[in-house]
């Protein structure tokens, strides 16, 4: 397959790479990914959308404290997970629950964090998925570290590092991109430019022609891709992963997408954006687009649709059941993991808490 992504100095003002347009038609010269991949991707999108909806419902029911939804960004969420091999790593943010789930982590485990159980509900090592990062852009450096270590050890691991448009303004974004480029680390920086950092619009984050253009300053390829086009994302991210794996170093990929929901349920998006703006993006919905394409090309029959819908419902039921259950947390676990072995100070504090609890029980 010929390369779609710039491999030299990115063309800063280039239009986003797109393979399927808003009416579901294949556009441009580049061939589409195999149909099977697109169908699998479509299934993933349905599951991701359902997960976003289900998690939102759980918040409304008071089962989750908060949920940062990726509705509208599902193509990004699924594509970035789907292009990875088993041994690769994913570094997600708080908004990337659907990507973590697409990587194979049980969404109940992922969401248990937002039920307040613990800071991370899944095993990062078993899944090769880092804990969802809250402090913006900080995780990008960890991603570079994992990648650099892999390279030093001679492993062919690739690391997919996610962040938002807002996070590109942080110093750690800069340091991570630069370290990766200098060390030729096998990382793909994947920026989901969903146009807002909470209430702050892109124009207040950057006046560069694109965020992908930042790649120039690090000496790495940068690609702007239509973030609601699953096919284009798969190709662009896939190429970046392949380049990284082949020793070609990092790539900065910017997805042009949109956060359809508010920042979280606690946010009031009406304060900073219009309904019209949101409505405009409904036309570009990543699910509709892929479904139309697959339906029109005959790749998706009613049976398949029904099968996928059932899978999504099953997942949602599993999530409801898993998060409905009350899971007690042991107060003494407060002290268990701070150090491999608790310090004498922590042992003392643990004993004091235990005494309190025993007294309460008595």
């Amino acid at each position: 397959m010929s390369s779609i992504a710039s491999t030299g100095v990115p063309d800063a003002a280039a239009a986003p790479v797109r393979l399927i347009d808003e009416r579901g038609a294949h556009v441009g010269e580049h061939p589409l990914p195999p149909v099977a991949e697109l169908v699998a991707g479509y299934r993933g999108l349905l599951l991701a959308r359902r997960l976003n909806e289900q998690a939102g419902a759980l918040v409304r029911q008071g089962r989750l404290a908060v949920y940062p939804s990726s509705r509208g960004q599902e193509a990004c969420q699924v594509a970035c997970a789907q292009v990875l091999a088993e041994g690769d790593w994913l570094f997600p943010t708080y908004r990337d629950t659907a990507a973590v789930a697409a990587r194979g982590v049980d969404p109940v485990e992922v969401l248990s964090m937002l039920r307040g159980d613990w800071h991370c509900g899944y095993d990062p090592v078993a899944h090769r998925v880092a804990p969802q990062a809250t402090p913006l852009a900080t995780q990008l450096l960890h991603a570079v570290g994992v990648a650099h270590a892999a390279r030093l050890k001679g492993e062919d691991t690739v690391v997919m590092a996610l962040c938002g448009d807002g996070a590109t303004s942080e110093g750690d974004f800069h340091e991570a991109c630069n370290f990766a480029a200098v060390f030729r680390a096998p990382v793909v920086f994947f920026v989901q430019n969903n146009k807002y950092a909470i209430s702050v619009p892109l124009a207040r984050q950057s006046v560069a022609p694109s965020l992908a253009a930042k790649a120039v300053g690090y000496g790495m390829p940068g690609v702007l891709v239509d973030g609601n086009d699953f096919a284009a994302l798969t190709v662009v991210l896939g190429e970046a992963v392949a380049r990284a794996r082949a020793g070609g170093g990092p790539t900065l990929v910017e997805a042009d997408t949109y956060r359809m929901d508010a920042h979280t349920n606690a946010d009031d998006a009406a304060r900073y954006r219009t309904e019209d703006e949101v409505a405009g993006w409904v036309q570009r919905d990543p699910l509709t687009r892929l479904r139309t394409h697959l339906a029109e090309t005959g790749a998706l029959g009613e049976e398949r649709e029904a099968e996928f819908a059932a899978a999504a419902e099953e997942m949602a039921a599993h999530v409801r059941a898993g998060l409905g259950a009350e899971t007690p947390v042991d107060p003494e676990e407060l002290f268990a993991h701070v150090y491999a072995t608790p310090t004498p100070q922590l042992a003392e504090q643990r004993a004091a808490l235990r005494a309190e609890l025993e007294f309460e029980e008595a």
Binding site: D117, T134, P135, L136, D267, R271, Y272, P331, Q345
Partner: protein, 333 residues
């Protein structure tokens, strides 16, 4: 203007408004403080009422925000910046420790930095990790910073006005769990000078020393103790740096017993400092060692466990119970 009921968020908003009205060098900026009015709505309406030049959003970068404020203060403005949550001030730590705190000293007072860094801090809101740190020790340990934290809405108003008026940089720590509780605030009241603690409740038997979010907890403990026949006083520091030794020590010398209460992990903390300095100054008045009731030395826990972490009334009263009352009946008599 008579006293009005308002939340702490409103009291701070009013203080910003009044300061901006009184002095057009005062500018407010940070993440989401503009059109949105801040994630806690503390800057609500300032962008609308004072315009983009006086209240604006920045790119998302905390070191950038604080560094920008340093430069603007060097050039005659009085920036008031917001860090969205406690742990998100850490990217600005170098700017705060190496410049905000030191520039006045570095320049032999030729450059003063009249700026305020507002930080919603501490826990009790069921927040996810990084949203509930009690980070006061980092700032209090750094010479050159003034560190202030209100416990009441009236103080939130008054201390913020005083902080904005201060010629020195102030780290203004807002106990976020108090943001939405209503209390009477009289904005016409004299602004309290920074550096004065206040005795919230006099008490004969022992003194509870607290600040910020722990003051209401201490008062609740004192109330409960009263029903059990023990008369506990409560001192609210209001300002950690400068520290009001006189007020604190006067109380402790009277009671001979003290418990320090703070949410932050206790090790090498502001609570350690209070215990150490009160002991240095009141040693021969003490019937028992000064006790500390603080957060454990663990990262701030996930919501389900935070109530075990936070110093609550029971834990405070347990500590009071250990103050060796039996040996000293003559003092309490």
């Amino acid at each position: 203007m008579p006293a009005t009921k308002m939340t702490m968020a409103q009291a701070i908003n009013t203080a910003l408004r009044d300061a901006m009205t009184a002095d057009d060098r005062v500018v407010v900026f940070g993440e989401d403080v503009g059109q949105l009015g801040g994630v806690f709505r503390v800057t609500d309406g300032l962008h609308r009422d004072f315009g983009e030049a006086r209240c604006f959003d920045t790119p998302l970068a905390e070191s950038g925000i604080v560094g920008l404020a340093v430069g603007m203060a060097m050039n005659g403005m009085r920036p008031v910046v917001e860090m969205q949550f406690d742990a998100f001030a850490y990217p600005a730590f170098e700017q705060i420790a190496s410049h905000v705190a030191k520039l006045g000293n570095r320049t032999r007072g030729r450059v003063r930095l009249p700026m305020v860094i507002r930080i919603p801090y501490a826990g009790g809101i069921g927040g996810v990790e990084h949203h509930c740190d009690s980070s006061e020790a980092y700032y209090a340990h750094t010479p050159g910073l003034t560190v202030v934290t209100p416990a009441t809405n009236a103080d939130a108003y008054g201390l913020l006005r005083a902080s904005i008026d201060s010629p020195d940089p102030v780290v203004f720590l807002e106990p976020k769990k108090r943001y939405f509780a209503k209390e009477e605030v009289d904005v016409a009241e004299a602004v309290p000078p920074i550096g004065r603690a206040v005795v919230r409740k006099p008490g004969r038997d022992a003194t509870l020393i607290a600040y910020g979010p722990s003051v209401p907890v201490a008062l609740a403990a004192a109330e409960q103790a009263a029903t059990e026949g023990r008369d506990l006083g409560v001192v609210d520091l209001r300002s950690i740096v400068p520290f009001d030794d006189d007020t604190v020590c006067a109380e402790v010398r009277r009671t001979g017993r003290a418990v320090v209460i703070a949410e932050a992990p206790g090790f090498a903390s502001v609570a350690s400092e209070i215990a150490a300095r009160v002991t240095e100054r009141c040693f021969h008045h003490l019937e028992a060692p000064v006790r500390r009731v603080t957060g454990f030395d663990v990262p701030y826990p996930a919501p389900k466990l935070e109530h075990h972490f936070l110093p609550g009334t029971d834990r405070i009263l347990d500590a009071v119970d250990t103050l060796q009352w039996q040996d000293s009946w003559e003092v309490t008599a």
